[in-house]
């Protein structure tokens, strides 16, 4: 039988991969993918914990909301990346370091 622990381990592994991608990749699109991956581990957790609320299915409900929101944020993020590209002619986050000023 697949227990809660298995879900949590999978989501933990996925989270770590997502985090690694966010920290290491030289491409803003890949970073965005990493972020989405981390978000999805959270959604996975919500669904996994949903077994404790079978009456209302709160976990699944929140997962749906989160997916919708993730789509929205992804759109916003893509728009930001487009703008960054327009301005800097690159989407390598190492080269966009104006935040330090």
């Amino acid at each position: 039988m697949i227990s809660l622990t298995h879900y949590l381990v999978v989501s933990g592994i996925l989270f770590c991969i997502g985090l690694y991608v966010v920290l290491v990749k030289r491409n803003a699109i890949q970073i965005l993918i990493g972020i989405e991956m981390m978000l999805n581990t959270a959604i996975l957790n919500l669904v996994a914990f949903g077994r404790y609320d079978k009456l209302n299915n709160g976990g699944q409900m929140f997962a749906l909301f989160a997916i919708v929101l993730a789509a929205a944020t992804t759109a916003v993020a893509l728009a930001i990346i487009l703008n960054v590209y327009r301005r800097y002619k690159t989407i390598d986050p190492d080269k966009v370091d104006q935040l330090k000023d």
Binding site: V24, P93, D97, K100
Partner: protein
Amino acid sequence: MAYHALAAVLLPLLAFVINGFLKGKASGWVSTIAILLSGVLAIIVFNHTFNGGTIHISRLWFTIGDTQLQAGVLLNNLSTILLLLVNLIALPVHIFSMAYMGHDQRYGRYFTCLSLFCFSMLALVVVDNMVLFYAFWELVGFSSYLLIGFWYKKEVAIQANKKAFIMNRIGDVGLLIAILVLYSQYHTFDLIKLFGEGGLISQSYIKDGMWIAPASSIPAVWQYIACVGVFLAVCAKSAQFPLHTWLPDAMEGPTSVSALIHAATMVAAGIFLLGRAFPMFNTSELDVLAIIGCFTAFMAATIALTQNDLKRILAFSTISQLGFMVMAMGINAYASSLFHLVTHAFFKCLLFLVAGVVIHEMQHVKDENHLDIDPQNILYMGGLRKRMPLTFIAAIIGGAALVGLPLTSGYLSKDGILIQAFEWADTKSAVYMTIPIMMIITSLLTAFYIARLIFKVFFGKLRVLDVKPAVLCHISDGGWQYKVPLILLSVCCLFPVFSLNPLLYEHSWVYRAFMSAEHLERMNIYHTIIPVGLNIMVVVVIYYAYAVYVQERKMLPFAQNNWAFDFSYHQWYFNKAYNTLFVKPVLALSGGLFWFDRTIIDGFISLLQNILLWLSKMADVFDRYVIDGFLHLITAIVQYIGNFVRSFQTGRVQYYLLSMLAVIVAWFIFKTLI
């Protein structure tokens, strides 16, 4: 009349003030006109007041406690005649000075000082209380100090004025003490109340060791202290032994100053003080006065015998004649003493002005020929009688008056003193006879030294020619500024000015003014024998001097290298003795104190200073390394932290995320471990 006198006193003060602002040659005229007007006023005052009783006006000056101090003018015979005398002497001297000081760069300053002196002297004569008297007494000394040191670039002049001032200070302290003693006994400073006829002093007496006044009594020793104080003052001002040594040195001033101040007026202030304070002295104190005066007269006359400096001879002559006056006071010949004061003022001033003319001409000879001689040394003079006849005649008149030859004023006053000295000694024990005999000897010495002076200066041949035979000599009597004063003073040295009878001093108006009538008859043989005998001896002495100095016979009683000559030439070694006894110990003491100050006091101060320096250095080190170090440490830490934190701010999003991750991981590790 008192206001006339006041105006006469204040005119020179006005001249002094004006000259203070004035530059150039006008100051001579300002001073001279002031003294001329003052003289006219003095004559008016004299005409109205002389023999006319006492005039005294005063105003309240200030009040201390219940003591009211009055300031005012007191005119009696004594002050009136001195007021006139000072003016009559000062006028020719002013005229003389205009030519004598004419080429001096500080002509204006000279007349400023001279006017200040005239003001103080005139005021000294007419003031009516001891406080003002003391003030003007000091002012006279101060202006004398200024004038002695007039040529302040001459080192000797500076030494001389310092000496005169210090010597006079000793007398001033005496006078101050006397004034304070008199005040504590009588509670008044008023001269009339103190010394007037029937005044407080004449009412007080000494009994059982107490000095009893009408209102109070104090131990008798205070009476002696007061008398010694007055006597010290007289000694200092009138150059009596033991404070006489300043007067010869004071000759470093201009000759006209010597004539006015150090021959005729200021030195007479001491006698004037004696005249004012005469009732204070009792018989034994008067005897001391007589002895001191007699000794001074004799000593100064012996010194004058061997001096070679023209002015110095006259200075010692002045000391000698002042000794005569003090002695005359001591033998109770009050009137004769003041009479001699008046006549002496004229003839000694005349002699000094003669000396001034001679020195002036010798200076010219020296400057024209670039000689290295002392223009005052009589050994370089000689034969001047043909070149400057008027000066010669004036010198003869002055000298004759000084010696006391008949027909001169000096005869009247000096023989009066001698006669009374003999009369006085008659009433005492035989020992006292030495005093009049000493005075006779002194008179003969006087005749010798003044004859030596006149013969050396005016007879024989000009000895400058021995130094350098080709000397150009333009020697003459000089301009009217020289001639007029000489003529004026010469006339005042002759008998008609003082008495219509040339032989009897009792007939002189000055003498009568100070003497009540009953003393006028000629009581004994002295009145005949002394003048006759003395004059015969004097003529012999003068002839002897003539033989020695003009005919140059070898008749000197002693050679110029034995002890007596040295003793006289070195002025009885008084200067050396004072130097050893007073000056050197004082200098040594001050040297010691200086050393003490330098080494101990300054050493202590510098020790303190070093300690303070050390302390502040420590504080500096503490501040620098501990306080500042602490602050630097804090800033360094802050800087380090800042740098450390700044290193995270790379501006790259991924680094920020990595940092956040690191912090969170660190947090969790931390939580787990603890």
